[in-house]
Every structure is written in structure tokens, then in C-alpha cells.
């Protein structure tokens, strides 16, 4: 029997402090008070996990004091309202949830408390006023404050969840406290870590070096010749970076889509042998840091590359630099991103209902006609998605253009140079980022328009007994001819990656050596100090592993939670919320990187240079994939499963854990693997966010490449690939398979 907590008429007396009533409120109120009374309000210490403050003058020292002492000892009187908003909800403890005062108090103090705590952080910063105009209005101020620390974090969390509990008590989301809280949590996170940085870019692009808003300057920059110039048509000068990027993105998008389709068709619709091999091999580029392929290409086709050396030796053809420029970027990116297109398309190609193709054939269409008029149009969503992914990946890719670009300048690299280069112009970087964002968002919008409202649902839930129609001969041949060169090229490139690490100096000295591995990964045992991690790579290697291992479960968790909210819950503003989560998918990593340094290197949220910013960045970069995987999997589960669990007295959190999660294991594995691998291989956003303490493997390798230490770079990369393979195995082992009934065709 359940023990329902009904209104006070049945519960004699007021609920005691230790009763289970309002447990959630007590918890969050307690946490908020803990943050206010005990933990340091500011983040003046270095690093989230640094605890030097405990022994270093806490609690009285200005930088480490908790909120209450900041007010009383350090004259930070503007924090008083925080205390007030924390006191108010104490009265709610004595009311029952059905009491209207309960909801009202929580909504009021939670909402205002949250808004106040956040805005005071923005209003007053490290150097006084957070915005210039405040100084003009109120005069100069002596006061200043640091970024928010544990204390402020907990208090904000407390306010947020008080607010959502107030909403739940008003009957929002069927009165479900957990779901209300989750929605609030996700919205706030997405707003802070996606919306805010992008907004910062917009603001920054409008400012001049002194921080004044000069719209004409913005116009001048965004229309500048270096971005939009068309000289390549009239002379042999190069065109603007925007055109360069656009051309590259479109070509890569098209090529990867066509190649991906060819592979998907070959694997599903022909008697091709080696299907398993293609599927597995297609995973390889995904676990390869993207620029590593560029590197292998240099070793092959560069001036000192194997092919050129051979040609010169055999035919006396002098080596040329043809690889550097658009050609090289295209080859590298197509090799790197085709597998993504393949993975998108294979699902779609398989899902096209055989009975539709059979129907078409019974209507006297030939196989060729059926393919063009039925199968291909039904794959439209897949084709559009694959193109969009290829396009965005290509525009956002940073490593390959850097390694292979030569004179061919694209947006992602120019953004980087605008930030770190000699002239150091963050405003210009912001403008370029906006151009890049415009491209991807336009593509995103165009894709949605193209797909329109037509239904492409072909998986109806009814058992489909039909068999897929074999590909028409002509199409099959086309597919083989497209796929073969790609396969050969991939094999050669990966051969290079394996062998390149064992060769002294590629192109000059080809003797076998372990010296690159030793330089990067040697261990030394000394009597005096014990084990010494001597290799140069260990530092970035462990950081990368640690950051990836922390961010992968968080990404997968948040992604699946968001998917749950999007699939299973209805609330006002859900469309906007969905759009925001999609937005972070359409934003290239480079843009996110710029946005993050602009947004998070000043209070109130000051996390640049820490590991936290890397973790956060990975979470929000990779979450959309987790969301997609979760949505796809969850839509297949009958909602009455959750409802049954709810009516049986399980809370929605328990339902999520005990009913949905076990059924979502494949999606969980996909999300975990993807976010781990993406964190290990990411470069475009990471390059802006690494610091001396937190260097990532990819940026370290890229540094080696810039010095021309190709052997070291390749050796390190192959170690990373091995580690990722091992990790994928481990994840699959740990999460396990979905336990379903033994009967094959299962009906819920």
C-alpha cells in the first residue's frame, strides 16, 4: 500500500522537521543555507577542486568568507536581499503543499532570489560596475567582487529549485517536482552555457576596443573585403574567407552525403560481402582526431611525402605543393566526415519500409523507377541531415585547414588567428564568428524548410514482413565506383598513421624506431622518487582522460534527461527550449570557443583556465547527440510504461531510473561513447580554452605539428585511438545490453 501524503485534514498536527513531507523543499533550503552560511561565496581560489581556502584564512579572509560574513564583516551589504529571500521560504515548511501560500511563497522567493543573486553578480564585477552605463548613472564605485563560488552556486541552485517546486505545487507538469526541477535546471544551463556565450559574441562584435557600441564599425567589419571579396574571379588573388568557407562546406557536405549514401546502400541493399568490416571501419575516423588525417596526408602527398619521393625517384617529377590549399582540406575532411554521413544514412536507408517499395513494384514501376521515385525521396530527411552535418563539421573544422590550408583561409582559422594572432582583435573574431553562425543557421533553417511538414515516417510499429528491394544494377555500380577509391584511400591513410609513429623522420630517414613513443610516453623508475612519468605527453594525456571521463557521463545524463523532457513532457515554451538545444548543435566549435572566453573570463561566472570550462564546453557541445539518441529511443517506448510506474506509486525519478533507463541502454551506450570520443578528439573549441594547467591531447599534438614533429604527433594520435577503442569496449561492458523478452517481435 502506498502511504499517500494528503492534505492536513488527514495528517494530524503540522509536519515535523524530520517527516518525509516536503522533503525536497527541506533539502534545497538546507543546501541554500549551507551555501550562504558555510561555504565561500566567491571563487577566489584557483580551480573548482582546489581546497587551499580551508586552511588559508577561512572563514574571515575577504576572498574566502561565506555570504553571511561577506555582509557583516566585509561590507558587501548588497547581499542582504539574498538572506531575505532565504528566510521567507522557511515559513513554507509549516504549510502543506496544497496550501496556496506554499506555492506563492516559493515562487516569489525562489524566482526573485535567483534573479537577484544572478543580476548582482553581473552588475558589480572585479573592477567595479559590470556595465559602463551604470557608472554614468550612479557614479564611480569602490566596491568590487569576484566570480561566484561554491556558496553562490548552492544558493542559486536552492533558489532555482524552490521556484520549480513552487511551480509544481501550482500543478505545473502534473505537479511533478522532479520533472519541474529538471526542466528548470536544463533551461537555466542551456541559457547560461549556450545562449549567454552566443549573446556575448553578438554584443562583442558591436563594440570597439574601448567597449563603446559603434554600429558603423560593426557594419564596416562585417562587410569588409577580407570576408566577402570576390577577387578570385577577376584576378588570381584569393576570395574572401566567407566564400572560401562556404565553398568548402558545400563541397564537403555534398561529397560526404553522396559517399555516405553509397556505403549505406551497399551495406543494406546488395549482397556485398564484408558488411561487418565496412561498419566497423566506418567507426575509425570518428575516433581519430580530425586533423590527424590531414597529417597523414602530408606524410603521403606533402613535399617530402612518400608519393612525391617515389615519383621523383622513379620518374624525376619534382615535388609540388598541390596538396596545400582547398584540395588538401577537401580530401582530409571527406575522409574524416564521410563516416558520420554513413551512420546517419544507414539508419534511414534501413528504415524505408520495404512494403512501400513492394507496393511501388506491384504498381508496375521498374526497380530503377522505384529507386528514384520512392526509395530516394523517402530518404530525404536522412540526406538533408547528412548534408547538414557534413556542412557544419566542415565549417567548424579547425585542425585540417590549419595543417593543410596553406594560402586558403577559412573562417575557423581566421577566428583563431584574430584571437591569438599578433594583431589580437577579439571584435573581429566575434564578427567572423557571426558570419560562420549565419551560414550554419541558414543551412539549418533551409534543411527544415526543405523537409517541411511532410511525413516521412515509414516505421509504423506494425510488423513489416517485406524484404528490401535489391539495388538496380546501375545504382549498385555507381555506388561501388564511388565507394572504392574512398576505401582504398582510408586504408592507406590509416596505414600511415600506424607506421608513421615508428619511423625516424618521414621522407628522409625511414628506419624503424621507438623514439617517438619513448619521448612521449616513457616511464622511469628511480630509487629515490619512485615512478616518474617522464614522457612529455603524460600531462596532457591524463588531463584529457580525466576531462573526458568526467564529461562523458554528465553529457549522456543531461542529454537523456533533456530527451525525456522533450519526448514525455508538455510545457509552455517547449518549442523554444527545443530550438535552443538544437542551436548548440548548429554552432560550430570555433564559435563556441570564442563565446566561452568572452563570456566566462569575467565574473560572475569566471571559469576560463580551469578544467571546469572544458567539461562544461564538452557537455554542451556534445549534448545534442545524446538528445537525438535519447529521443529516437524513447519515442519507441510506450508512454503508458511510465504512467503505469507513476500510478504504482513510483516517483518520476525512480521511474526514469528503474523503467526507462534499462530500456534505453543502447541509447545510453551511444551517448556515452560519443561524448567520450568527442571529448578526446575535439579541437575547434578546445584550442581556445586550454591553459597551461589543463592542456588537452589534441591541442598538444597540434602544437607538435606546428613545430614539424610529425613523428611525435602521429605516435601520440595512435595511442589516443587505442585508448578510445579500449574505452568503447569498457563502456559497452559496464552498461550492458538491454534485457528484453526472449520473443523476438515484441509488443508493448
Amino acid at each position: 500500500m502506498t502511504t499517500p501524503s494528503f492534505s492536513p485534514e488527514t495528517t494530524p498536527g503540522f509536519p515535523g522537521i524530520f517527516s518525509k513531507d516536503n522533503l525536497n523543499l527541506k533539502l534545497w533550503l538546507g543546501i541554500a543555507w549551507l551555501g550562504f552560511l558555510i561555504l565561500p561565496w566567491y571563487a577566489a581560489y584557483d580551480g573548482f577542486w582546489s581546497f587551499i581556502w580551508v586552511t588559508d584564512g577561512y572563514p574571515t579572509f575577504d576572498e574566502y568568507s561565506p555570504g553571511i560574513l561577506q555582509i557583516t564583516m566585509h561590507d558587501r551589504w548588497w547581499l542582504w536581499p539574498v538572506a531575505l529571500f532565504l528566510l521567507l521560504p522557511l515559513s513554507a515548511l509549516s504549510w502543506s503543499k496544497t496550501d496556496p501560500r506554499y506555492a506563492l511563497t516559493l515562487l516569489f522567493s525562489g524566482g526573485l532570489g535567483f534573479a537577484f543573486t544572478l543580476s548582482q553578480g553581473f552588475i558589480l564585477g572585479l573592477h567595479g560596475w559590470g556595465w559602463e552605463f551604470l557608472g554614468d548613472v550612479f557614479g564611480p564605485t569602490e566596491q568590487k567582487q569576484f566570480g561566484m563560488g561554491y556558496g553562490a552556486l548552492l544558493v542559486c541552485g536552492g533558489f532555482l529549485f524552490m521556484f520549480t517546486q513552487g511551480l509544481a505545487a501550482r500543478g505545473a507538469i502534473k505537479g511533478d517536482v522532479f520533472v519541474c526541477g529538471s526542466i528548470g535546471f536544463c533551461i537555466v544551463l542551456v541559457a547560461i552555457f549556450v545562449f549567454f556565450p552566443v549573446g556575448r559574441i553578438l554584443i562583442n562584435s558591436l563594440q570597439d576596443d574601448e567597449g563603446n557600441y559603434v554600429f558603423s564599425l560593426f557594419l564596416e567589419k562585417i562587410t569588409s573585403h577580407s570576408i566577402w571579396g570576390l577577387d578570385c574571379f577577376s584576378s588570381n588573388l584569393s576570395c574572401g574567407v566567407a566564400w572560401n568557407s562556404l565553398l568548402m562546406g558545400v563541397l564537403v557536405g555534398l561529397a560526404t552525403t553522396v559517399l555516405g549514401l553509397a556505403f549505406a546502400l551497399l551495406v543494406t541493399r546488395t549482397g556485398m560481402q564484408a558488411k561487418g568490416f565496412v561498419r566497423t571501419a566506418s567507426l575509425l575516423p570518428i575516433i581519430t582526431p580530425p586533423f590527424v588525417i590531414g597529417l597523414a596526408l602530408i606524410l603521403l602527398f606533402g613535399r617530402a611525402g612518400a608519393v612525391n619521393v617515389f615519383l621523383e625517384w622513379a620518374f624525376g617529377i619534382p615535388p609540388s605543393r598541390w596538396l596545400y590549399g582547398l584540395t588538401g582540406i577537401l580530401i582530409a575532411q571527406i575522409l574524416a566526415f564521410t563516416p558520420i554521413a554513413f551512420l546517419v544514412l544507414i539508419g534511414v536507408v534501413e528504415a524505408v519500409s520495404p512494403s512501400m517499395e513492394e507496393a511501388s513494384q506491384t504498381l508496375r514501376a521498374s526497380r530503377w523507377q522505384t529507386f528514384w521515385t520512392v526509395s530516394l525521396p523517402l530518404m530525404r530527411p536522412g540526406l538533408a541531415n547528412a548534408f547538414l552535418l557534413g556542412f557544419i563539421e566542415s565549417l567548424a573544422d579547425f585542425g585540417n585547414p590549419l595543417v593543410l590550408g596553406g594560402q586558403y583561409e577559412v573562417l575557423s582559422t581566421q577566428i583563431f588567428f584574430a584571437i591569438v594572432g599578433a594583431q589580437g582583435d577579439p571584435g573581429m573574431a566575434a564578427v567572423l564568428a557571426i558570419v560562420l553562425l549565419m551560414f550554419t543557421l541558414t543551412a539549418f533553417y533551409a534543411q527544415r524548410r526543405w523537409l517541411g511538414k511532410k511525413s516521412y515516417a515509414t516505421v509504423t510499429g506494425k510488423g513489416d514482413a517485406g524484404v528490401h528491394v535489391r539495388l538496380p544494377k546501375r545504382v549498385a555500380w555507381m555506388a561501388y565506383l564511388t565507394a572504392a577509391p574512398f576505401l582504398i584511400m582510408s586504408l592507406v591513410v590509416y596505414g600511415m598513421i600506424i607506421f608513421g609513429g615508428f619511423v625516424e623522420t618521414w621522407g628522409y630517414k625511414h628506419n624503424f624506431t621507438l623514439k617517438h613513443y619513448i619521448a612521449e610516453f616513457s616511464l622511469h623508475w628511480s630509487e629515490q622518487y619512485g615512478l616518474l612519468w617522464e614522457g612529455a605527453a603524460w600531462n596532457s594525456f591524463w588531463t584529457t582522460l580525466q576531462i573526458s571521463a568526467i564529461s562523458a557521463p554528465l553529457t549522456a545524463g543531461l542529454g537523456l534527461l533533456t530527451a525525456y523532457i522533450l519526448v514525455r513532457q508538455k510545457f509552455w515554451g517547449k518549442d523554444i527550449f527545443e530550438f535552443l538545444t538544437m542551436l548548440s548543435f548548429a554552432i560550430p566549435g570555433t564559435v563556441i570557443g570564442v563565446g566561452y572566453i568572452l563570456a566566462f573570463n569575467v565574473p560572475p561566472i569566471e571559469i576560463t583556465g580551469t578544467g571546469v570550462i572544458l567539461v562544461v564546453c564538452f557537455i554542451f557541445r556534445n549534448m545534442p547527440t545524446g538528445i537525438r539518441a535519447g529521443i529516437a529511443a524513447m519515442s519507441q517506448l510506450d508512454p503508458s510504461l511510465d504512467e503505469a510506474s507513476l500510478t504504482l506509486g513510483a516517483k518520476s525519478f525512480t521511474t526514469l531510473r528503474r523503467v526507462l533507463l534499462p530500456l534505453l541502454r543502447p541509447a545510453l551506450v551511444a551517448a556515452l561513447v560519443f561524448s567520450f570520443v568527442r571529448a578526446m578528439t575535439a579541437i575547434s573549441a578546445v584550442i581556445f580554452l586550454v591553459s597551461a594547467d589543463y592542456d588537452m591531447a589534441t591541442s598538444y599534438i597540434l602544437g607538435r605539428v606546428e613545430f614539424g614533429d610529425y613523428g611525435l604527433a602521429i605516435a601520440y594520435s595512435s595511442v589516443l585511438i587505442l585508448v578510445m577503442l579500449a574505452a568503447i569496449g569498457l563502456i559497452q561492458l559496464a552498461v550492458g545490453k538491454r534485457e528484453l523478452g526472449r520473443r523476438e517481435s515484441f509488443e508493448f
Partner: protein, 353 residues
């Protein structure tokens, strides 16, 4: 404030955007009764049930369970169990785990959970099946697991949403009798949704007939069948021929009614002399050889043989009538002229027409 109702709706409206799924619903359900929500597809039955369970929240109005206002209480905190049309058995748990699920959630000690779950399975006749997965059971067995899972919680209210619609005709009859027996044995307050009027008549203490988001009529099965308040109910519960009539005068509790020359006495049901509608059950129409009595003359248009009865469509001054005749020995061919009269029962005035 105490009342003897297990469930009570006060002016409940539920809107999904523009659509009002239920409008201004008022009803109450007595403890220990089985009440059926009956109505055509889309009339709001499932919505009403989900409002009781807390799976939907009302747009307006109040919901009471027992003595408590649960209007804003989430499903988890209401003492209500539901048996879903799709059963919603957790596919990754065994039968035993499924049945124990709710008990575990109420944090009972383990032995007690096991014992109660075992009893529950015995109750539905599946005691040997604890270790199987739901996918290894037949449809009917799965259905009984779903019932056991809801029953073991001994909820204040038990809800069924079209629990039998996945079963074949024979099994439906058996399972519905089992459910009714269990319900009466345990004295459970039960709300049962169906659109099968025969099922509703067979199992219910009371029936709430819904139409287009509102209650059309509420009452005991016999009352609904014999005294439908409007055209919709009379036609929905059992078949009925609706014909025009004239009330000549009121005589005590009865009215003298004229149907095309045939005079009969019917309970007046609050009507006054004048035009009115009468519902006539197909079984209550008698077909005699034409000319034998002073009935309404008519012609048989269609005749079909259904094993235990004959069905006729008869053309007459009242329009086309649908007639059921249990005398199967003599089947009248189409074209036969007949004379129509009515039996003294199965004919009633319709107040709201």
C-alpha cells in the same frame, strides 16, 4: 468534512489547447462500487480516467479521492492504481518483479512484498508464472498480470482503461467476469472504461454514459436501458427505433401516447401533452400478418438470419424500423406486408428530445 464517496468530480473541465476533452463534469462514485464510463470514441472517457489517476491535471474544477482534495496532487501521491489498455508491463522485469514493483515503492519490508505479490498472482491464477518475462505470456495472461500488479497495492480506487479490447470475444467474457468477481470479493472501488455497451451492462453497478465531453446520463444499468433520458443514450445503449409520437394526456404517473394510431400507456417522465419522441427497442416490435390486427401497416425490406434471431428492416409510416424477432422458425421474405404493434415493455418516452 467527510463523505462516503471514493471519487468525486466537481465542475471538472480539461482542455488540450482549444479542444475541451471533458467539460464541466460532475459525478461521484460510492465506495466499493464498479462504475463504468461508457461512450463513443473520443468522448473523453480516457481523459476522465487519467484525471482521476493524476496523469492529467484538471484545467478547472476539483477532484476528490476519499475525503481529500487531490486536484493538484501528482499521480505518484494518489492512492490509485491503473490497468492500462496496453497492459504497460515492464518488459525488462519478470512477472514477479512487475507485481512487486508498486509494493517495493511503498517501502514495505522484503518478505512482505514477496508474500503480497505471491497472493496477488494466486488471485489471478498465475502463481507458477513468477519467473517468466511478460513476453513469454499470452495476451490474456499478460492482462491478468497487469490486474495483479494494480490489485496488490489495495488502492483506494482501481482504474481500468478498456482492459479487454486486446482479447478475443470468448476471453473477453471470461476475463470480465473474473474482474467483476475479484472486485466484489475485495470490495474495491473501481472505475472501468469501455465503449462496449454489453460489457458495461454486464459488470457495472452504475454506468456513466458520456457524449462529446459531457455526461449524457448516469444510472444503474437497468435504468439506462429502460429509461434513457435522451436520444443519444437510447440509441447508444442497446439499439432503439426513435419515432415521433403525441402525448394525449397525463394520467397520474402515466401518459397516454399515440403512435400513429396505436395508443399505449407509458411513464410520463415529466413530459407534458404535445409532440414527443419515443424509443422502441427492436425486440419490442411485433410483426403480425397484415390485416389481422389494427396495427400500423408496413412492408418488409430486408430480412436476415443470425442463428438465434431474425433481423428485419420494415418500411412503414413511422419510417424504417429495425426489428428483432426471436421466432426463427418462420422467416418472412422481403416484400411481405405486415402489421406492426408494440409490446408493453421496451418502449419509453424520451424527455430530452
Amino acid at each position: 468534512m467527510s463523505n462516503s464517496f471514493a471519487v468525486e468530480f466537481k465542475n471538472v473541465t480539461k482542455a488540450f489547447g482549444e479542444v475541451q476533452a471533458v467539460r464541466d463534469l460532475n459525478f461521484s462514485i460510492q465506495t466499493g462500487q464498479l462504475v463504468t464510463l461508457l461512450g463513443p470514441s473520443g468522448c473523453g472517457k480516457t481523459t476522465t480516467l487519467r484525471l482521476i489517476a493524476g496523469l492529467e491535471m484538471v484545467t478547472e474544477g476539483q477532484v476528490y479521492i476519499g475525503d481529500n482534495d487531490v486536484t493538484k496532487l501528482p499521480a505518484t501521491e494518489r492512492d490509485v492504481s491503473m490497468v492500462f489498455q496496453s497492459y504497460a508491463l515492464f518488459p525488462h522485469m519478470t512477472v514477479m518483479q512487475n507485481v512487486s514493483y508498486g509494493l517495493t515503492m511503498s517501502s514495505l519490508p522484503k518478505p512482505e512484498v514477496h508474500e503480497k505479490a505471491q497472493t496477488g498472482l494466486e488471485l489471478v491464477g498465475l502463481s507458477g508464472y513468477g519467473d517468466r518475462l511478460p513476453s513469454e505470456l499470452s495476451g490474456g495472461q499478460q492482462q491478468r498480470v497487469a490486474v495483479a500488479r494494480a490489485l496488490v497495492l489495495e488502492p483506494e480506487v482501481l482504474l481500468f482503461d478498456e482492459p479487454l479490447s486486446n482479447l478475443d470475444a470468448k476471453l473477453r467474457r471470461r476475463v470480465r467476469e473474473e474482474i467483476r468477481e475479484l472486485q466484489q470479493e475485495l470490495g474495491l472501488t473501481t472505475v472501468y472504461v469501455t465503449h462496449d455497451q454489453e460489457e458495461a451492462l454486464a459488470v457495472s453497478d452504475r454506468i456513466i454514459v458520456m457524449n462529446e465531453a459531457v455526461i449524457a446520463q448516469e444510472g444503474a444499468p437497468r435504468q439506462l436501458y429502460e429509461e434513457p433520458v435522451n436520444l443519444f443514450v437510447s440509441d447508444f445503449i442497446g439499439d432503439a427505433n426513435l419515432v415521433k409520437s403525441t402525448i394525449l394526456d397525463i394520467d397520474g404517473s402515466h401518459a397516454n401516447v399515440d403512435i400513429r394510431g396505436i395508443r399505449i400507456q407509458l411513464p410520463h417522465r415529466g413530459l407534458t401533452p404535445g409532440e414527443s419522441m419515443v424509443a422502441i427497442r427492436p425486440q419490442s416490435i411485433l410483426l403480425k400478418q397484415s390485416g389481422t390486427e389494427d396495427g400500423i401497416p408496413g412492408t418488409i425490406l430486408k430480412a436476415s438470419y443470425l442463428g438465434d434471431h431474425l433481423e428485419y428492416t420494415v418500411e412503414c409510416a413511422l419510417g424504417e424500423l429495425f426489428v428483432i424477432d426471436n421466432q426463427i422458425q418462420t422467416q418472412q421474405p422481403p416484400g411481405t406486408n405486415v402489421s406492426i404493434t408494440f409490446r408493453p415493455y421496451g418502449v419509453s418516452l424520451i424527455p430530452e428530445s
